[in-house]
Amino acid sequence: MVRIGDAPGVRRTLIGIALALTALFLLLPLVAIFAQALASGLDVYWQNLSDDYTLAAIGLTLLVTLLTVPVNLVFGVFLAWLVTRFSFPGRRLLQTLIDIPFAVSPVVAGLVYLLLYGRNGWLGGWLDAYDIQIMFAWPGIVLATIFVTCPFVARELIPLMQSQGAREEEAAVTLGASGWTIFRRVTLPKIRHALLYGVILTNARAVGEFGAVSVVAGAIRGQTNTLPLQVEQLYQDYNTVGAFTSASLLAMLALLTLAAKAVLEWRAARREIAT
């Protein structure tokens, strides 16, 4: 049987188009970032990188990511477990609510947080009375980032856990396993890959989030500027090389994330063959 696309000409054309588009839309911009960052030589690149404000931006970005990823990891697993393993009234609604951060523009998300925690906000007045500052300080940035990235883990897990069904867990229950043991010995091994992928996406977005963070950060240099905000500010300062230097860091982080994912997948595949 000959299927469409089997003819060598068609196949080659399709592969060619795919490769050309990938190069044009994905590879070229990546190369451009590094080309711009290194345009004035390695010394200038290093100088820009060791700029106090850039270092502070790197530090803040790492802090935000280190706080966001674990929170959303736990939250996402918990949510997926709840939605796929139990049936309760409002389950469907909960599943829809998870998607709110995807449906809402990040800028709106930031504004909503301002509305809640800002000085004139619902909770803001109370917080202000106790002199607790959430907005325009790192806690606000963390909150906004958590909001924007919270669906990734759950969204990766839910379809998988739904298709896997609860049969194995039910078997474990009949054998007398406790909830925690079931999760650790039965569920977790099955969802490891999807979980990993969710964490990687969460991580990537947490590092790169711009819109929501820019609303709640207040743009204090060296204090509330994350890397993406720093990139924009440097660019507006006519410091193109500096902006692309910071951008190249983000690009490198992205590449590292992808590499980490590839390595883990490769190791998992090998382990599967071994067993």
Binding site: G59, L114, Q236
Partner: protein, 345 residues
């Protein structure tokens, strides 16, 4: 609770932990400081980053010499309306250094800044000022000299949208003030001038930097209209030979108002520091620095030394021509106001 201390140490520690583990980064300077200096925050407008990056170290040295205390000044920059809004929502700036009087008024209305803030410092609390000027391409091929040249059919203009940009509002008001003077207040003639003026605009960018990009990098338009200070910066940045500055004989006075945000300065324990910061901006040393950044200053000696860089021009005040900012905003820039009508007709 003040997070400043926590976070200052926290991300740096996080960063250092990560950095130290990577040999490539381990040579970066570690800035562990045991006693953190007192910090203050200056919330400012977008294009003042380079300016205050130069002012702050000198202020810190000045404060140390006067008070024997090392302090740190943090900067936050953004559109000055955005900044005012952020401060109202809890951005704890000790001082504001804005480019729009209206944005400080907003803070005064909210009770964060004293009602009489304009009387607290000399020259309407504006330590430096500027005006609206033109940037034309090499050799001034169309021989642009003043506002009446800008309404010719063969001239196309670039300036930011007065609806979204304070910079653009100054340009609009400057053109109106010129026409008001030229046509002796004849409304029909002023409106017909303004219609032609607005009709010659090639691109309305949302902000000053965007307009600069359009003019310089996209090479669109014959005349870029923006602050004199910015016009000179652009020339220095993009090539002295490729562009020429034209300062029209009549233009508008653009004030750069400063104020202490009393509410936060008191709470931060920075009352003295905040006032000291604004005082410093009026010292001859700071005035000289401001002049280096192409702003006009009131210090007589500094002004005299820089007179060749700032051509003499008649500067009209918004208060005198339009009856003040609130009136100008209401009449010209509000929805359905004069600007909307001019663009519709």
């Amino acid at each position: 609770m003040n997070w400043d201390m926590n976070w200052r140490a926290a991300p740096r520690n996080v960063f250092l932990a990560t950095a130290l583990s990577a040999t490539a980064l381990s040579s970066l300077p570690a800035q562990a400081q045991d006693d953190e200096p007192r910090e203050m925050l200056n919330a400012s407008y977008d294009i003042a980053r380079e300016l205050f990056a130069a002012v702050n170290p000198k202020f810190i040295a000045w404060w140390e010499a006067e008070h024997d205390e090392t302090v740190a000044v943090n900067q936050s920059h953004g559109g000055s309306s955005t900044q005012a809004r952020s401060i109202m929502q809890g951005l704890r700036a000790d001082v504001v250094t804005f480019n729009q009087v209206t944005d400080v008024n907003v803070l005064a209305d909210a009770g964060l800044v004293a009602e009489d803030w304009q009387d607290q410092y000399p020259n309407n609390a504006s330590p430096y000022y500027s005006t609206t000027a033109f940037l034309v391409r090499k050799g001034n091929p169309q021989n642009i000299e003043s506002w009446d040249d800008l309404t010719r059919d063969d001239v196309s203009l670039i300036f930011p949208n007065p609806k979204t940009s304070g910079n653009g509002r100054y340009t609009y008001l400057a053109a109106w003030a010129y026409a008001d003077q030229a046509f002796d207040g004849d409304e029909e003639q002023i409106e017909s001038y303004m219609k032609q003026f607005l009709g010659n605009v090639e691109v309305f960018d949302t902000g000053g930097r965007g307009a600069t990009t359009t003019f310089v990098e996209r090479d669109i338009g014959d005349v870029l209209i923006t602050f004199e200070s910015e016009v000179n910066n652009i020339r220095q940045e993009y090539g002295e030979e490729d562009y020429e500055v034209v300062v029209p004989p009549v233009s508008i006075l653009a004030e750069f108002p400063v104020a202490v945000v009393d509410e936060y300065a008191e709470r931060n324990g920075n009352d003295d520091l905040a006032h000291g910061y604004l005082d410093y901006l009026y010292t001859p040393e700071a005035q000289r620095l401001l002049a280096d950044f192409n702003y006009r200053v009131n210090d007589e000696e500094v002004a005299a030394d820089n007179s060749d860089r700032f051509p003499e021009t008649e500067l009209l005040r918004v208060e005198d021509v339009f009856g003040g900012w609130p009136e100008a905003m209401e009449t010209h820039f509000a929805s359905g106001g004069e600007l909307d009508q001019l663009q519709r007709r």
